[in-house]
Amino acid sequence: MRLFSYFKPPPQWIIFVTLLVGAIVGLSLYSVYVSNAVSYLSDDPKTCVNCHVMMPEYATWRHSSHGRVTTCNDCHVPHTNPVAKYVFKAKDGLGHATAFTLHSEPQVIKMRPAGQAVVQENCVRCHAGTNQKAKALNVSFAEIKHGQGKLCWQCHREVPHGRVKGLTSTPNARVPVPGSPVPQWLTDILKK
């Protein structure tokens, strides 16, 4: 309470300060809206094409066999427990958002080691039951790093995004990218 009263402006300033704080909160909310921030809590693959640089990844996944049974998150975030999932998502996502905002994405986007470890874990998570005999499945990411085995996709090179990778590799793909942020009712009013 003491802290609050410390920040409490003198009565003659209160209107001005309220307006200013309102402006900051409003602008922040707008940023949340225009960046579709809430969607990042979901598992919907459409979220990933909020950034258009992910179009080729979305299109190739959608057309692959994995497109029928998985979402992006099934492979690209850990599923050991919900805390690990959201911590990883936050870390990875903020990194991606920063890169995208600063226009620093490379022409060919590749996974970093942390992402590779998660994907390898998730290959095993689903395919352990179907491929019990396959020796490579029992190899951990740490062992692979020490040269004791290979990552799944070092042999299954087409899975699932194909071998040809790059920002321009799917020029005509139909991908559900976000449309205009202007709501339909406003467009209708402006048209009149």
Binding site: S31, S35, G166, N172, R174
Partner: protein, 495 residues
């Protein structure tokens, strides 16, 4: 206090910048993966589609290539009557005995139908040997016209009726929706054939459509003048009501009492198998394993960093590494030799049937000349009809020796038995007429000799065609150019 003020200004300013940057990157999406021009519904000109889809368009254009020859076919211009003069005898009295060449790529669909002797040299819209129906598979102006006048009206009248309307060869609009690029069935005959079998073609999966778009044309068909909706019009119809097998279609034709033509030498009521490529493919192992036409004839191709479907539709033998090798691990040489060995065997058997049929036609002609009666000949003529239907079904299916070699050989072997039975009957007819020696065979060693034997006046046919090419065709092309000059193409950014 001032420090706090300046800090706040900074924060709000930075927030504004962030929002603007997010907006900017979102706006980029509006220009990415976006086509350049707005393709109008039923746009016939493939080059307009090509501005939006250059990779597919360029590969489609390379169906102009005529440099590939496989052991028996390919995309080169081969005069099939020169290569197999027997065909002239088998088709005597029918257009194919005048002129029949190896089919080339889709880009030639219009050129070839304009230049073949089969379409003759019409001088007016209502003259010439062929009906308007013959355009049905030639290009993207067909869906445009059918949408305008309806199928029955499209099929009505002579081929020359649509001179100046049909200029764009088989292309984009034949198989694609102009908005979504989804595969689309544009030919009424296939839709109607499905309907008569109680099937709904719109329920077909994408993989099925990757074959069905081909089955719009690469199938057996006939011109049904008895269609209740359009009496007397040569209505393009697929004879699939009883099934797509050789016997089922024969039963369909027999029940209708239909024949394509009466043979000039033997007087048999003949059936012409057009090109039951799709039907025979469905009998083969690749179809049974769910492999579509496009999987082998239009495999994926990578160019630069882009992977797309190769629209150079051609023999997979000219592109083993992208078609066969995707599934089969053998060497190219091995795979080609496997295909050729099947072809050799099917064609060996087919040649036996082919020679028997030549003999049958000529022996039947001989019997007529000896004074045989209709009653005496009835059984023989039926056998000729049935045997040649089987020969043609196997031969005209083109890739049949690859698509379904076992079924092709079954069909041919049944044909050989029927043909031999026919010759036994003929021998009895001839014996009854007091003739028991070998029937003399004419010299039909070349195309010219065979055509002379069946009484074709090739000089006249060639002269008619030349007159058409020099005097009529330029008018058609001028008419088409004037019409297409009025087509307007909008850029997508225009309002």
């Amino acid at each position: 206090m001032w420090v706090l003020f300046i800090l706040t200004v900074g924060v709000v300013f930075a927030l504004g910048l962030l929002s603007a940057s997010i907006m900017e990157r979102r706006t980029e999406t509006l220009y990415m993966n976006r086509p350049k021009v707005k393709i109008e519904p039923l746009e016939p000109r493939s080059e307009v589609w090509g501005t939006n889809y250059p990779n597919q368009y360029e590969s489609w254009k390379s169906t102009q290539d005529t440099s590939f020859m496989s052991k028996y076919n390919g995309n080169a211009n081969i005069d099939m009557l020169e290569r197999y003069p027997s065909l002239v005898i088998l088709w005597a009295g029918y257009g194919f005995s005048k002129d029949y060449n190896q089919s080339k790529g889709h880009m030639y669909a219009i050129d070839d139908i304009l230049l073949t002797l089969r379409t003759g040299g019409p001088t007016k819209p209502d003259t010439g040997p062929m009906p308007s129906t013959c355009w049905s598979c030639k290009g993207t102006d067909v869906p445009r016209m059918i949408a305008k006048v309806g199928p029955a009206e499209f099929y009505r009248g002579k081929w020359a009726k649509y001179g100046g309307e049909q200029v764009n060869p088989v292309g984009c609009a034949d198989c694609h929706d102009e908005k979504t690029m989804d595969l689309k069935i544009t030919r009424p005959a296939l839709v109607e054939a499905f309907e008569r079998q109680g099937k709904d073609i719109t329920k077909a999966s994408h993989q099925e459509k990757r074959s069905l778009v081909c089955a719009q044309c690469h199938v057996e068909y006939y011109f049904d003048k008895e269609n209740p909706a359009a009496k007397g019009v040569p209505y393009l119809t697929f004879p699939w009501d009883k099934g797509m097998g050789v016997e089922e279609m024969e039963a369909y034709y027999d029940a209708k009492g239909f024949s394509d033509w009466t043979h000039k030498l033997s007087k048999a009521p003949m059936l012409k198998a057009q090109h039951p490529g799709y039907e025979l493919y469905t009998q083969g192992i690749h179809a049974k394993r769910g492999v579509s036409c496009a999987d082998c004839h239009m495999p994926y191709r990578a160019e630069g960093g882009v992977k797309f479907t190769d629209h150079k539709i051609q023999s997979p033998l000219n592109n083993i590494s992208n078609s066969c090798v995707v599934c089969h691990r053998e060497s190219e040489k091995e795979l080609i030799s496997n295909v050729y060995s099947n072809m050799d065997k099917v064609i060996e058997a087919r040649s036996i049937l082919e020679h028997l049929l030549v003999k049958l036609h000529i022996e039947a002609e001989f019997a007529w000349n000896k004074g045989a009666t209709k009653d005496q000949m009835a059984g023989v003529l039926q056998d000729i009809r049935r045997a040649q239907w089987r020969w043609d079904y196997a031969a005209a299916s083109h890739g049949g020796a690859f698509h379904a070699p076992v079924e092709a050989l079954r069909i041919i072997s049944a044909g050989i038995e029927i043909a031999q039975n026919g010759r036994l009957k003929l021998a009895k007819v001839l014996a009854g007429l007091g003739y028991n020696k070998e029937v003399p065979m004419p010299d039909i060693a070349t195309k010219a000799k065979a055509q002379a034997y069946i009484g074709l006046d090739m000089d006249k046919l060639n002269a008619e065609k030349q007159n058409f090419v020099e005097n009529i065709l330029p008018q058609w092309m001028e008419k088409a150019r004037a019409r297409e000059d009025n087509y307007i193409t909008h850029s997508v950014t225009e309002k």
